[in-house]
Symmetry: C2
Subunit: 411 residues, 2 copies
């Protein structure tokens, strides 16, 4: 008799015990009840356990939970793998093959450990999280496009309902330029003012500018973080994250205590791409992580946009790569993003007959009145031209003349 | 009897006489012999007459000459339109319908006038032009893609053979920015150094920069002008045009004495697009004439590229429009242009296995040695990375180490 099956059997017995202990742990159950209203239900409890014992993007776990449901999946993996419920064990019915399950068991089993589980749960309660599970009313249904690769749970601080609203991911380099920050701010501000949720990664640079601009515009924003929500990363964004919690949501797939590792950043990017209906990369170096987010958006078949910049600017090289090699759409304005969404005219009652009107519409705000001079500068049209177009729009009821300038008609 | 047919008949008699006089004019024949070696041939003489009596892009004339040849076409139009050679007169065989021919006759007849014809010819002789006609050995065959819209003749100063070499149109706004001029210079210089002919419109701004960069790189360039070549337009480019004549060619479809009208500029753009194998717009405002050139390139099915820039820059708005709405390819470097041509590796023996090598290859010059520091700066790679890649390339014989730096291996 070889030692390998022997070890596996020994492991199995230990793991069966750990699973029973985890399921029956009073502290875990108490905390779970504060994080999720249906935590008494075994499948909710086990869905939580699945999230806690896996790394983001674990396709083996994803496929197994999708095939068997969280409860049977746990029973199966930590029970006797040689007798799978349902019969076949070769992955032929969409379930992972036995070997992958054996590897998974050892991976997941290492975290099926009371101290770790209790800590993650109690911290989540302490920092005021909610946990969302697939099937929950507030679970963002469009994550289903990720298939087996979808998150097993989302930890959330703030307003969980914004996750299901129409979101646009505005992402980009941490090492952003003034130009990129300016454009990110304009785009995010304008989109948020029009009721779209700005989704980003909470990082320094473009991400931070996008979140801030959305908040400043009185809009909603979602930051998807790579580590547990008990820890602000980057620490310098702690105050920003508090503002996001007040006007949107902080989200992570990783439970409390989880550090933002490189792997988790890459997997986090797929959540950004999947939460948003379209992804726009504002600035990115040749090898920027934002290109990874863009790749996820493309894989998901979601519209992908890239903001061009000077070809002499290293911070735009990644965007140009997206335009050239990945069929990203060239985005120069919020109107372009809306077109990307197939939502031309969102938040605007302005008829968009011709390019000049579109350019003017693009720089009119529903909230901030702007003078013809300002509008001319922002649109690149002449003041005379702007005044003529405003006259037309006023007749059509598309703009409002105020003492301090012109505004587009609010929604 | 109505007056209209009467006038038409009278006109016909007059025009028949004018045609005979033009064909027999001794001064015209003498000059023609100095502009074209086969000028004794009636069809060459008549092809020249067709160019002189038409405006650029006259499709009616183009179709007629294509169907009947220049000699029969003149006989037919200025003879008796009611008895067309070949029978049909309804345009069914590709020839224009009678009404279009009657209108054409009155247009063309107005220029079938001895003083005008002699003047155009004698000026062409005086300023040292050659005239190229379809079918001539040096006629650029790829103009055939224009169909009936092809030029009936090209007036040329300089080296007619460059018109048949592989050319790339580098065009853009007259009101260019420093950025656009920088990029146009880099692209044109690099492409010209690699043996590609830089085709442009001889205007201020991007065009002028492209021509100059090509000349400075020791390459060839072609300026296609909208008016007759006896007059430098713009006048400030007179010296540049002389340099182009020495290292390339000045070309126009319009005979001497013809002013560069707006119509002729637009028709000139089709010649630029058709002479070049690919067109790249470097900088263009929202309504720039360069977009017209781009439109011609697209219509011809020729590859079209656009250089992105800051979305806040009005001089890049047209380029972004091309990227967004006209499927132009995003061009950030000479390597991108070569890829556009389907000629990756033109002028370079460097193996292009990976993006870094491509970026390095892109900034290596066959003529100007560059230090690793310079190459790092131009490519956006680190100096260490550049040195490592140069080591690889040296082993492969792709680069040459000189006292003053590194050069790519010449063609």
């Amino acid at each position: 008799m070889s030692t390998v099956p022997a070890r596996t059997r020994t492991g199995s017995a230990e793991l069966r015990l750990r699973l029973r202990q985890a399921r029956e742990d009073a502290s875990f159950r108490q905390d779970a009840a504060r994080l999720h209203e249906d935590a008494d239900h075994p499948s909710v409890r086990d869905a939580l356990l699945w999230n806690l014992v896996t790394e983001p993007g674990d396709r083996v776990a994803g496929a197994l939970v999708a095939a068997l449901g969280p409860e049977d999946a746990l029973d199966y993996v930590f029970g006797d793998l040689s007798a799978p419920p349902g019969g076949a064990d070769d992955g032929g019915d969409g379930r992972p093959a036995l070997r992958a399950l054996q590897e998974g068991r050892s991976r997941w089993g290492a975290r099926l450990e009371a101290t770790y589980l209790r800590q993650a749960m109690s911290t989540a309660v302490r920092v005021g999280l909610r946990v969302l599970l697939p099937g929950d009313q507030d679970w963002p249904e469009h994550l289903a496009d990720l298939g087996d690769h979808r998150p097993l749970a989302l930890w959330v601080r703030g307003d969980v309902t914004v996750l299901s609203d129409t979101g646009v991911a505005i992402v980009g380099a941490r090492a952003s330029s003034n130009y990129g920050e300016h454009v990110a701010g304009e785009l995010a501000g304008s989109l948020a003012a029009d009721g779209l949720v700005v989704v980003s990664g909470g990082a320094y640079g473009i991400d931070g500018v996008a979140h801030r601009a959305a908040l400043r515009a009185g809009g909603k924003t979602v930051a998807v973080l790579a580590g547990g929500l008990d820890r602000a990363y980057p620490a310098g964004h702690a105050a920003l994250f508090e503002r996001i919690v007040a006007d949107g949501a902080l989200v992570s797939e990783v439970a409390c205590g989880g550090a933002p590792t490189r792997w988790r950043f890459l997997e986090r990017n797929r959540v950004i791409a999947a939460l948003a209906r379209a992804t726009v990369v504002v600035e990115a170096g040749w090898r920027s992580g934002s290109l990874n987010t863009a790749g996820h958006a493309a894989t998901l078949g979601r519209p992908l946009g890239a903001v061009p910049g000077a070809v002499t600017s290293a911070t735009s090289a990644g965007c140009h790569r997206l335009l050239r090699d990945y069929d990203a759409r060239c985005v120069t304005s919020a109107a372009d993003v809306k077109e990307l969404l197939g939502h031309i005219g969102v938040g605007s009652t302005i008829p968009q007959q011709d390019p000049e009107l579109e350019r003017l519409a693009d720089v009119l705000s529903a909230r901030v009145p702007r003078t013809p001079e300002e509008l001319a500068q922002r649109s690149g049209l002449s003041v005379e031209h702007v005044e003529a177009l405003l006259g037309v729009l006023e007749l059509e009821g598309g703009v409002l003349r105020t003492e301090r300038g012109w505004r587009s008609m609010p929604l």
